[in-house]
Symmetry: C2
Subunit: 484 residues, 2 copies
C-alpha cells in the first residue's frame, strides 16, 4: 500500500498550541507519509515545525462552525492542539494522522527512509560486541534466563542443572548461588499449568531460590496511565495530588525494582555469590534487575559508552520486545495488551541513581529523556522490532541508522553528558527508603511545567565548566530562569 492512499488532504491553515511555556505557531499544515508539517511562512523562525507521525499516541477531533480542533497526545507525553480552518480539512487530516500513526509495518517505517547528513549507514551497529564484555566479567557471575519449563509433570532439564552446577564449581570454593525469581512463589507455581515453573530445590544443589515479585505488564501500564492523568491535572489541591501520586503506585514500582537490584548486587558484592535472575520470559523484569545491578556494581557501565553497551546488551540483544511494549505510551484509549513501560521504569530507576549520586554517572538526565523518546518513536532503527531474529529479517542493521551513531555526534554531547562527572570506582548503593525516592519531574512533567530547576542550574554549571577550560574567558550572564 502506498502512503499517498492514506493521506486524505493536501494542506490547511492551522494554529498550533504547544503548551503553557511556548508561543503558538500559525501556518500551513500538511501531512506526509511520515510527518506532520507546519510551515509558518517565509519570515518565520523556525521555518518548519515537524512531528514524526509514529510518535502520536492518541488523537481527538472536535468541529464547531467552520473550523475544527485536533488534540494530539504524543508518546513522549507532549499534548499538542491544532486549530484548523475548515471542517472537511480537519476531519481529513485527523483521519490521515490516525491511519499513518498506527501502521504496524516495520520496513516502511521512517527509520528505513531516514538519511541524515554526516552519518553513514552501518555505522555504530557493531561497536558493542558482547564478547568483549564476557571477557571482562569472566568471574562476575550474574546470569539471566527465562523460567525453567517444568510444566505440570515437573520435568527436569539435565543441561540446565549441569550448567548451574558448573557455574558454582567454577566460582570460588564454597560459593553459593541465589536464584532471584521476579514472581511471587504462588505465581511461579501457577506457571506450571502453562508449561513453565520454577527450579526444584533438589535438582539444583547449592542454589537457593528467592522470590521478589515485581509488577509487569498491565498493572505497570495502568500505573503509568494513572500517573500521567494525575500529572496532567493542574487544578488540584496538594492533598489530592499526593493521594493520586500514592494511588498510581509508580514510585512503589521504582522502589521494588531498585530493592531487588540491590539484593542481587549485594549477593555478588558482599557474599561473592552467583546470581541467576529470571521471571517468566526473561525479557522484562529480569532485564530490569540485571541491568540495574550492573549499574550499581560496575563503574564502566556508568560511562557514556558503557551505558550504551549495557542497553544494547541487556535490553536490545536480550530480546526485550520494544515494538510490543512501546506501541503506545500513556494516552492511548486502546486497552493495554502487550504494552508495558518496563524500559521507562528502568530509565526512572537510573534517574534515581543519578539523583542520589550526582557525580557518578557520565551521562545526564538528557540522555535518559532521549532514550525514552526514541524507544517509543524514533527516526533511528535501534529500538525497532521485538528480537534479534526480527531485526535480521528486516535488515535493520544495514537499512537504518543506529541511534548510537546519532547520539554520539559531538553536537549532541552537551545535552547528554553530566558536567559534574567524576569516575567513581566504588559500588553505588542507592537508598530505597520511600523518603529518598522522587517523582521524575523532568520526564513526567516535562511539557506542562517549567523545566526542573536543577536543569537550569546545570546550564550554568556547563557554562562555568566550559569557561574554565577556555582559559581567560569570563562567565556570561545569559543563564536564564523560567519566567511564567
Amino acid at each position: 500500500m502506498e502512503f499517498s492512499e492514506l493521506i486524505r488532504t493536501g494542506q490547511a491553515q492551522a494554529e498550533l498550541l504547544r503548551g503553557p511555556e511556548m508561543p503558538p505557531l500559525r501556518g500551513t499544515l500538511c501531512v506526509t507519509g511520515h510527518h506532520l508539517l507546519l510551515s509558518p511562512g517565509p519570515q518565520a523562525t523556525p521555518d518548519l515545525w515537524l512531528l514524526l507521525l509514529r510518535s502520536v499516541d492518541s488523537i481527538e477531533k472536535r468541529v464547531a462552525g467552520d473550523a475544527g480542533t485536533i488534540t494530539l497526545r504524543c508518546k513522549d507525553l507532549r499534548v499538542l492542539q491544532l486549530d484548523i480552518e475548515g471542517v472537511e480539512a480537519t476531519l481529513d487530516i485527523a483521519r490521515s494522522i490516525e491511519a499513518l500513526s498506527s501502521l504496524e509495518s516495520v520496513i516502511t517505517s521512517f527509520p528505513f527512509f531516514y538519511r541524515p547528513k554526516g552519518l553513514r549507514l552501518g555505522e555504530a551497529w557493531h561497536f558493542h560486541p558482547p564478547e568483549r564484555y564476557y571477557k571482562r566479567i569472566a568471574r562476575e557471575v550474574l546470569l539471566r534466563s527465562s523460567q525453567p519449563l517444568t510444566g505440570p509433570q515437573k520435568l527436569r532439564c539435565a543441561e540446565d542443572e549441569e550448567l548451574l552446577r558448573a557455574v558454582l564449581a567454577e566460582a570460588r570454593p564454597g560459593a553459593r548461588g541465589f536464584i532471584v525469581d521476579t514472581r511471587s512463589a504462588q505465581a511461579a507455581k501457577q506457571a506450571r499449568m502453562t508449561g513453565g515453573g520454577t527450579e526444584a530445590k533438589a535438582a539444583y544443589p547449592g542454589w537457593k531460590r528467592l522470590h521478589r515479585p515485581l509488577e509487569r505488564g498491565r498493572p505497570l501500564q495502568e500505573s503509568f496511565v494513572r500517573l500521567m492523568e494525575a500529572c496532567g491535572d493542574p487544578e488540584q489541591s496538594m492533598d489530592r495530588w499526593l493521594s493520586r501520586l500514592d494511588g498510581c503506585r509508580w514510585l512503589s514500582h521504582v522502589k521494588e525494582a531498585l530493592s531487588t537490584a540491590c539484593l542481587a548486587a549485594q549477593g555478588m558484592e558482599w557474599e561473592g555469590a552467583c546470581i541467576l535472575v529470571h521471571g517468566a520470559e526473561g525479557t522484562d523484569s529480569t532485564l530490569l534487575v540485571t541491568s540495574l545491578a550492573q549499574l550499581i556494581l560496575d563503574p564502566l557501565s556508568r560511562t557514556m559508552a558503557g551505558f550504551q553497551e549495557l542497553i544494547e546488551r541487556e535490553w536490545i540483544q536480550a530480546g526485550h520486545p520494544f515494538q510490543l511494549r512501546c506501541a503506545h505510551s500513556a494516552f492511548s484509549h486502546t486497552r493495554p495488551k502487550h504494552e508495558a513501560p518496563i524500559f521507562l521504569l528502568f530509565l526512572d530507576c537510573v534517574w534515581q541513581l543519578g539523583r542520589q549520586f550526582p557525580l557518578s554517572l557520565e551521562f545526564g538526565e538528557g540522555m535518559l529523556l532521549a532514550l525514552f523518546d526514541h524507544s517509543y518513536a524514533s527516526p533511528f532503527g535501534t529500538f525497532l522490532c521485538n528480537s534479534e531474529k526480527e531485526r535480521c529479517l528486516c535488515e535493520v542493521r544495514t537499512r537504518t541508522h543506529s541511534l548510537w551513531s546519532g547520539l554520539n555526534q559531538p553536537k549532541e554531547q552537551r545535552k547528554l553528558r553530566n558536567p559534574l562527572y567524576v569516575p567513581n570506582p566504588l559500588a553505588i548503593w542507592p537508598s530505597v527508603e520511600p523518603q529518598s525516592l522522587r517523582l521524575w519531574q523532568g520526564l513526567f512533567l516535562r511539557w506542562t511545567h517549567p523545566p526542573e530547576p536543577s536543569e537550569v542550574a546545570w546550564e550554568k554549571v556547563w557554562q562555568i565548566a566550559t569557561d574554565q577550560k577556555t582559559e581567560g574567558s569570563q562567565p556570561t550572564d545569559s543563564a536564564s530562569e523560567p519566567q511564567p
Copy 2:
C-alpha cells in the same frame, strides 16, 4: 538560682550515637550550666563534642542492669542516643539536662555568656535601620497591621480610616487598595466577640477585603509534629509514606502561604494596587505573607544583606514572638500552647523559591538551615525574646552577640552562599501547583538520610567556581558522594 544547684552529677563514662551516617563517640560525659560535653580523651579527634542544652527538645531515659540510655531529641530535629555507665549517673544526668534545658530565664541564657574570638559586642546590631528601607520603597505600598479593634459594638477608628485614605491618595491616581485578611471571613467576624474584628466596607472607601485563611498556631504545630513522625519512620512502604506526607498537610501549608504571597505581590505588580495584610495580631501569618511578597518582588531582598535586613525588619522588629513560638520544635511531649513553626514555614517557602529559581537568591540552603537552627536555640541573641520591648529590657543588643555578626564572618560564607547566584532584576513568580512543591529534604531528613544530592553537587560547583577564580589551578578530585 545558681546553675550548679541544677547539676546533679560530675561526670560519667558514655557512648554517643549520632545517627546512621556518623561513627559513635566514647568518652567522659559532663553537664555544665549551658552545655553537655563529651570528652573522648587526649588522642581523639575531634577532642570535644558539645551540645547547647537549650537545643534539647525532649529527653527520654531508660535503665537496665548497671547502665542507662538517654535519648535526646533536639530542636534542630537531630536524635542523639547516650549509653551511660551507671544507673545513678544516668538518672542524675537526665535530671540535670531536663532542668537546664527548660529554664525560662532569658538573661541567664547562653547568649549572655557567649564571647567568641574575633567578634566585638554591639557589632552588627544596628546595620539594618528600617529608615533606609522606608526611603527606598516610598512608592511601594505594602502595609501590615493587626486587626482593627472594632469589637461587638462595631467601633470605628478615625485615625486608621484617615491613614488608609491617605495611602490611596498618595498612590497613583485611581489606585485601588486590597486588604488581605489571613483569616476566614467567619473567623474575622467571630473575632469581634473578643474585641477584634475586620474593616467595615463603608468606613474604608476604595479598599476591598479579601480573605485568604492561613493555618497558624496549634494546627501548624501539629502538622510539623506529624511530619517529623513520618520522616522518622524508615520501615514504611512507599504507599504509607505518601499517605502520611499527605495526612500531615505540611506541603498544603507551604502551598497556601506561597499562594497568598503571590496574590499580594500580583496586586502590587500587576494592578499597581496598595496592599494591607493582617490577620489577628499581625505577628505571625501576616509576616509570612509580607516577607514572601517582598522576596518575590524585590531583588535586593534576595541578596545576602537584603535577606538579613528582611528578617530583621519583617520578623524580629515586627514582633514575631520567637521565644514563645520556638520554645519547642517537633519532639516535645508537652501539648503545644504558644508554639508554632511559622518562621520555619517561611524558611520552607523561601527554600521552594530557591529551588524554583536556583540562580536568583544570593544565599543557599545552608543559610536557611542556619536560621532554623538559631531561631530554636542559639548562642547569639538575635532571636531572643518576643518583642522589641523585651529585648530592650534584657539589654540584648549590648549584652549578647548578633547572629549577623556571626554569620557574616568570611569563614562562614562558603556554606551560606549560593555559588550560582546571578542578580535577577525581575519578579520571581513561583509555581504553586502541587506538582511543583517538594518536601525540604535538607531540613526534615537532614539527620536521618544522606545529604540531599544537590548539596553534594553544590560542593563540586563551589570547587569549579573557586578554581575558576584562582587562575591556572586545576579542579581537585576530592568531591565525594554519600556511601552507606
